[in-house]
Amino acid sequence: MSDILLEARGIEVSYGGGRSLLGPLKPALRVLHGVDIVVKRGETIGIVGESGSGKTTLGRALLKLVPISSGSIRFDGRDISALSDEAMRPVRRRMQMIFQDPMASLNPRQSIRTILTAPLFLHGLASSRREADEQAAAILARVSLPETVLDRSAHELSGGQRQRIGIARAALLKPDFVLADEIVSGLDVSTQAMALTLLKDLSREMGLSVAFISHDLSVIRAVCDRVYVMRLGRIEEEGPSASLFEQPRSDYTKLLLDAIPLPDIDPGWLARGQDSTMKRGERA
């Protein structure tokens, strides 16, 4: 068995384009320009970049949630880029996603019980109500939520609790790979620390591979083994966390790191890097 779980080569994704009704041919906007990315078994990789860097599109492309115009995706040794929706279904259970905003991604009309158990039936992981409830109760205990939340709906929970439901929902299907897209960006630091610890512990216990997307390099540092820095649809730099953060090679990574305001007194920080960031500022 190869130690590589997910391998994407030369990924290109374009949005728009085509001919509108009777209109002229519109050029497509290419947002990923041949991206290569590898996730090993049990590894947590970070994908970091600013808005418009293509990090979310890349994550969605890995899960075949957006069509790729070029390139290939191999999952567990098998090329999945050309699979039909039907053929993808068994693979989908093994590739789960935790969303950025649990308020938007959890159905407000469904109870937490339905949200957690419906996918179990869909993927044939439970054959009876009781079996499904047992699995839901077990995962809730694991994410430190009381069983009483089963009969609540998402809006009755706090932001941190909702995010734990999002994590529980993904973990319940015993996937091999989880995509976590900006899952802590709206949370207070204390709640954020809890969610990150939970994800880190779960991935270790379950041997999960995780692709962790964030704009926040400090959050990436806390949870990722290896990091891809993206810029304008390309990989700018890749490396193990320790070397990337301690000896970044790319000027862009250095620029990103120095732009992060750390809670230290550093009177020279504000003036530093003025020239390099000014050029970006001029762009409208």
């Binding site: 808005s51 750390l262 504000l270 890097g273 409208a284």
Partner: protein, 290 residues
């Protein structure tokens, strides 16, 4: 000792819905030209203080006591005509979200000159000239194009520059910046922080900078007020609070934030014991108030 620009004294506010305190005995003083960070987690009351100063509290929040003195005069009891003269001229706002704060249907130029004509009584020609001068101050390189643009034609950072220009346009004595960089990328955030600091120094303006980020506070604030659940937990010079925090909650909050230069940090939530002590302390303060 100079006269403070703003002095909030024993300010308390109640939620009209359930009668709980959203602000409890908050006091803070701001000297001319001082940049004060208002920092805390969600629900701490930092935005409530900002809104109280601006007189834009929602109807669900009721002031229960205290004073907000601007250059000595209480804003809470001031006549509407007095407030109308102060707000938008001596006290202005840099809003949080540059996407929604500008009118999408009007050109930038019209929106920049509105305030100048309305609040400062300028005529069209001098308002236009002043708008170009302001755009130069906030380092907009192609002012003619921006002046004729609609908001959607500009980047988030560019729109935030316009809002900063708007806020400093009347030479205010106090600017309230309500999380103005939360929605921006870090590199753009740094430019905006630099710009706020430079404008504030050039105009000698006092600034209240609302943020949830202690890092931002460390980089641009002279002083800081840390809030939790409507209470002031610790306040003082930024260097003191960041380097020698006195309160256990302040220490825990600093330790809970992840840092790219310290692997492993960012995975320890504020300990439940710290929250328990904090709630006890707050409970005692509220009982003592009655």
């Amino acid at each position: 000792m100079t006269k403070p620009v703003l002095s909030v004294e024993a300010l308390s506010a109640l939620s009209a819905r359930n009668g709980t305190y959203v602000l409890s005995d908050v006091s803070l003083t701001l000297q001319p030209g001082e940049v004060r960070g208002l920092v805390g987690e969600s629900g701490a009351g930092k935005s409530t203080i900002a809104k109280a100063v601006l007189g834009i509290l929602p109807s669900t929040i009721r002031i229960a006591g205290g004073w907000i003195r601007f250059e000595g005069d209480d804003l809470l009891t001031a006549r509407p005509s007095v407030l109308r003269n102060l707000l938008g001229r001596d006290i202005t706002l840099i809003p949080q979200d540059p996407q929604t704060a500008l009118n999408p249907a009007r050109r930038i130029g019209a929106q920049l000159t509105d305030g100048l004509r309305l609040k400062l009584g300028m005529n069209a020609a001098s308002a236009r000239a002043r708008a170009f001068q302001l755009m130069d101050e906030v380092q907009i390189r192609d002012p003619a194009r921006v002046f004729d643009s609609f908001p959607h034609q500009l980047s988030g950072g560019m729109r935030q520059r316009i809002l900063i220009a708007q806020a400093f346009a009347p030479n205010p004595k106090l600017v309230i910046a309500d999380e103005p960089t939360t929605a921006l990328d870090v590199t753009v955030q740094k430019e905006i922080l630099r710009l706020v600091r430079r404008m504030q120094e050039a105009h000698g303006t006092a600034v209240i900078f609302v943020t949830h980020d202690l890092g931002v506070v460390a980089k641009i604030c002279d002083s800081v007020t840390l809030l939790y659940s409507g209470h002031v937990i610790e306040q003082g010079a930024t260097a003191d609070l960041i380097e020698r925090p006195r309160h256990a909650y302040t220490r825990a909050l600093i330790a809970a934030g992840p840092r790219y230069d310290r692997p492993g940090q960012g995975l320890q939530p504020v300990p439940e014991r710290v929250f328990a002590d904090l709630r006890k302390e707050i409970g005692q303060r509220e009982t003592a108030d009655v």
